[in-house]
Each structure stands twice: as structure tokens, then as C-alpha cells.
Amino acid sequence: MQRLKPKSIPSCNKNFIFTAVKDDKRIDGRSSKDFRKLSIGFGLDYGSSVVSLGDTRVMCNITYQIAEPKAVKSCEGLLNIRVDLTASMIHTYEKVVEIMRMIEKNVKDSRCLDLESLCIISGEKVYALETDIIVMNDDGNLPECCSIALLASLSHFKRPDVSVVEDKIKIHSFDERHPIPLNILHYPFCTSFTFFDNSKFVCDPTQAEEQVCDGYLIVGSNIYREITTIHISGKSAITKDVVLNCCQLAIERSKFLTNFVKLVVEQDLKKRSTEGAEIGYAPLIRESSSVLCSYKKEEIELQEVQENYDDDDVIIDLEVAQNTKMYRYASDTVGIGEGRGQNWDFIDEFQENVENDENEDMYIEDEETTNNEDEPDSKAKQFSKRSKNSNKYQEITVEDDLSEEEVQILNPPEFK
């Protein structure tokens, strides 16, 4: 599989980032100690989670198998962690190993999971948890995002109940007996710090900041003020005092994350116990401001709309312009209005009308029916109107009382 060339950062970008960090400023408006917005979503299965930290998005899935334990530790379960970075094609195998080892050291060596509770028959059968961490988008700070995803999944995961009857293992289904959650002793979260120009550092770096940095420090810590792992590399002048200072910040961040993850998991588990609640990824994809949706629509407030054109052929109704809203979808994408319903069949009608009345304008006709483009009902009325007018399109039987879902199929995607 061919790898893409990593984007080289122009030196003017690099200088800008360095000078900005000196004044405690960053490109996305954060200060050096601010973290990006964090959101966690859970799938239908227990142990499947998606975490997004700004634009960095990581998914974690946990599945289980029954396997033989290691000879040395015969009464402990197994935990295998795998990190998949193939979606981000610029990373080399070395980077994968770096992140995988970071997370392994953080979670396995610190013994945050009680593996002895995963034992079924000592020395013969234990639960082997397979963890797959898939990086969907890399915008910096992968270790932190991956550790949050892993811990969210581990705290969400439930394994089936097991009973041992005369050397035979009976695994009960989820309906028979309640599944059992894992026993997590503490929550070690990773926090990244990148250093620029000797001892100036920022928390939660973006991809651009990571590429130009002088050095970085990753600290794994939990709320009991234990430092589970430290990884330092790079040429920045990191001394012992700097390390201790960063550890303090990491512990603060860990406290926040522990409470956040516990809260989110609790909310999701509550949802599952209530009837008719929407669980899983499907409702998250529909929501525009959720963890899975790439479009986050924000309305931009317009102050004034002026008539300012010289060309007489262009006919824009000021009222339409004033009612049109502007939306920001991403940092570099803005939309004016939201698009209209398809009006392919309208053209023939227009021809007919033109024959009748040359001065008629197709846009003006639309406005008579709709005042607000966003209302789905008005669009439904539009269609019904057209189908009544044009004889050629009798096969389109669109009814007035359309359900919302059908309207969504006919219109260009609307993000509610």
C-alpha cells in the first residue's frame, strides 16, 4: 500500500506558530493550556465507542474470546491492544508502534484493569479481550484521544455471565443473565504537551503544531495522582522541573476526563434501560452537532443586506436575500442558503408559462408559495402544486401530509 507524502509545513507557517506560542496564542484561538471540545458516542454493542477531540476522531471496539491464559500468569485474563492507523496514510509503522506502546504501557503496565476477574477456569480458560483502536482522523494528540476511547470502551463493555458446570463452561446470553461490566481499578489518561523554543509548551496540539514542534512530552496519569507513564522525546530543553509541572497539569486533566467518561457511560447505560430510546451510532450520524457528523452547522449572523449590483440582467429580490441565512460548516466552508428542492420537472412548466407570459420569472413564482425555505411542509406544498399543474408528471404522486423522512429523501440533504 503506497503511503502519501507527509505534507511539508511551509516555514512561514512554522514561524507563525512559534511566534504565536510566545504570546500564549494559537491558530484556533485557544490559549496554551486549553483543550479542544471532547465528545464521546457509543454504538449498539457494549464496548464500542467513538471519541472526537476537536477534529481528531478515534473509534474503539472491544470484543472477547475464550482462550488459554499465559503460562506465567495462569489465573489472569488477557488484554490485546491493537492500533490501526491505516486511515491516515501518512504515518509510518514506527508511529503506529509508538502509539501502540504508549497505550500498552499506560493501560497494561499500570494494571488499571483487574484481569483476575476475567478468569474462568484457572490455567485453562480465560477471557481474552481484543481491543481494536481505529484512528479515523488524525488532527494531532492521538495518544490522548486513543486512551480516552480505550477507557470509555472498557468502562462501557459488558461480558456475558459464565457458569462452570463439571468442566463445561456455559456462557449465558445477555437475555438469560445480565452481562457483567469489567472491573476497572483506576482510569489512566494520557495528556500530550508539545514544546516550542525551550520550555514554552502547549497542551492538546493539533496536527500542524505537532509537525513543527521541537519536542513532546506525554504523561499518563490518574486521579489518585499516580503517574502511569511518561514519554519524552525531541530537542527541547526539558528539565526535571518542567516534567513535574506538566505532571500536575496532567493530573488535573485526568480528573476532568475521569468524571466526564464516567458520566457519559452512565448516561448511555441509562438510555439503554429506557424503552424506545435511540442508542447506537445511527442517531448520532443524523445529528449535526454530534461526535460522528462532520458537518457542524452554525448560523452566521448577518448585519445588513444591501442591494449592490450593476448588472440589470441579474434579478435578486431583496426580500429573498434578507431571508437567506448563512451557515458555517467548517473552518473554511460557508454556505449561503441551504439549497432548494429539485425542480427538474419545473422547466417544462416554465416553458409553457413562458409561451403564455414572457415576463414571468420562475423564482418569483416560488416565493408566492414559500416564505421560509427551511420549512419542510412548504416544500411539500410546492411539489403538490407542481404535480397538479403539469399533466406530464402524473406519476409523481406526492401527498400533502408527507412524513418528515420522505421529505428528507426528496430534498437535498438538510442538516437539522
Binding site: 509503522y93 514506527e94 503496565d109 503517574i227 511518561i230 522525546s233 516534567v243 505532571c247 500536575q248
Partner: protein, 242 residues
């Protein structure tokens, strides 16, 4: 099996470790420069029972991509199949790749790479016998090999490991202490002049209140290691001049 006594107190003040050392004692360190004639630089480090060989080739032509601003450092770490008590034949296992990556980054920061653009420096490390503190011994060996090769470097990079057992910070971990459950271990590789930490790897949980003492133990260990390394280098140069 887990109840090995790692720290035995005969008196309250000075507990002894499993190999008879005091908590802040570094194992005996022997180094030699210029062990191989065909390499540009080479060294041999013996830290207690851990023995490491390092060779350096370069700066030489790159086959393929070259960096126009600086030299590319390429570091390969290998544990010999016979280095531990059981034979292991994992050629490219995760741990070796991780250590290779860390070593590459350490020396990328320490060597003055801007002096040799469009070239490559190769560092090969082979652990002949492993008895704990492999990573620290490798940093020391590679540092000596680079100095032997005459490649400009900012300072003599030295490294030492430290741990925390029974509320006592200990310096220079051996294999028994490393493999026992629940011993937090940390290795620091640093430039001694500015006390600048180039690489720090830690695993196992260390409480923040103890972290200061453990890091101090490692830094003190680095100082002892540095003293011996400097003596070795000066003796080697003086021998050559004569």
C-alpha cells in the same frame, strides 16, 4: 512466586537489594572505545551483567531520500537471541522497534546534524547479554561509539534507570527487579551539562510525590555513569596520541 524479597533491611538505615547493592549504587561500568576497525566508530559497554556493542557508520551517502537540511539518523536496536535466559527469535518485535525509535530521536537531538546535509548516519546496537537497564546501556554505548567516530555531538549523552520498591527509590535496575510485578521503572537519557532530558520512559505507576525522588535517583546515576565514560574517552584519546 511473587514474594521475592527485593529489598532486605538488616538495619533501618541501609536496606540491601537482591544483588547486595545499596539503593543508590550503580553497577560496575566498564567501557571500551574502538572495538571494531571496519566501523567508523564502535564501543562496548558492560553495565553489571548487561553487555552492549555499538557501531556507527557515517555520515555516508543515502540510498534514496535525503534531507537537504540535515543528516538522517538511522538507529537499529537488536536483542541477540542468546541475550536472555530463554532463547528468543523475535526479529522485529514491538519492543525492539520502540527502543530503536526512541534511540533515533535521542541522537537526532544530540548530534549536530546540520553539518552533514544529504547524508545518513547509521547506529547499530546489539545487546549481547541482557540483565536489566538495556535501554540505558544502549544510550551510553551509542554515545561512546558516536564520539569514537568523530561525529560532532552536543555533549556526552548518558543514561540511567531508576525504580521504586518498598517506598525506596533505587538506581540502576537489574533484570530481577525489572521483571517483578508492580515495580515502576523509569529510564532517563540526558545531556548532563544543561541537565536537559532527551528521553524519558517510564512504566508502572509512580505517585507524583515520589516522582521527584525517583527522577533524582536516575539523574544521580547518570552523573556516576558520565564520570566513568569521560575517563574512558580521555584515556582512549591519550593512548592514540601516543
Amino acid at each position: 512466586m511473587e514474594s521475592r524479597i527485593l529489598l532486605e533491611s538488616t538495619s533501618v538505615k541501609t536496606p540491601f537489594r537482591i544483588d547486595g547493592r545499596k539503593p543508590h549504587e550503580v553497577r560496575s561500568l566498564t567501557c571500551r572505545l574502538g572495538v571494531f576497525q571496519q566501523a567508523d566508530g564502535s564501543s562496548y559497554v558492560k553495565l553489571g551483567n548487561t553487555q552492549v556493542l555499538a557501531t556507527v557508520y557515517g555520515p555516508h551517502d543515502t540510498r534514496g531520500k535525503s534531507n537537504p537540511e540535515k543528516s538522517i539518523i538511522n538507529c537499529k536496536f537488536r536483542l541477540s537471541t542468546f541475550s536472555k535466559s530463554t532463547r528468543r527469535n523475535l526479529h522485529r518485535d514491538i519492543r525492539s522497534i520502540e527502543i530503536s525509535n526512541n534511540l533515533t530521536q535521542v541522537f537526532d537531538s544530540a548530534i549536530l546534524t546540520e553539518l552533514y546535509p544529504h547524508s545518513q548516519i547509521d547506529i547499530y546496537l546489539e545487546v549481547v547479554q541482557s540483565d536489566g537497564s538495556d535501554y540505558a546501556a544502549c544510550i551510553n554505548a551509542a554515545s561512546l561509539a558516536i564520539i569514537d567516530a568523530g561525529i560532532p555531538i552536543k555533549d556526552v549523552v548518558c543514561a540511567c534507570s531508576a525504580g521504586f520498591i518498598d517506598n525506596q527509590p533505587i538506581t540502576d535496575i537489574n533484570a530481577v527487579e525489572e521483571s517483578s510485578n508492580g515495580t515502576p521503572i523509569l529510564t532517563i537519557g540526558m545531556l548532563p551539562k544543561d541537565k536537559q532530558i532527551l528521553s524519558m520512559e517510564s512504566s508502572g505507576g509512580i505517585h507524583l510525590d515520589n516522582l521527584n525522588d525517583v527522577m533524582d535517583a536516575a539523574i544521580e546515576g547518570c552523573k556516576s555513569v558520565l564520570f566513568i565514560m569521560k575517563q574512558t574517552i580521555l584515556n582512549h584519546i591519550q593512548e592514540l596520541k601516543d
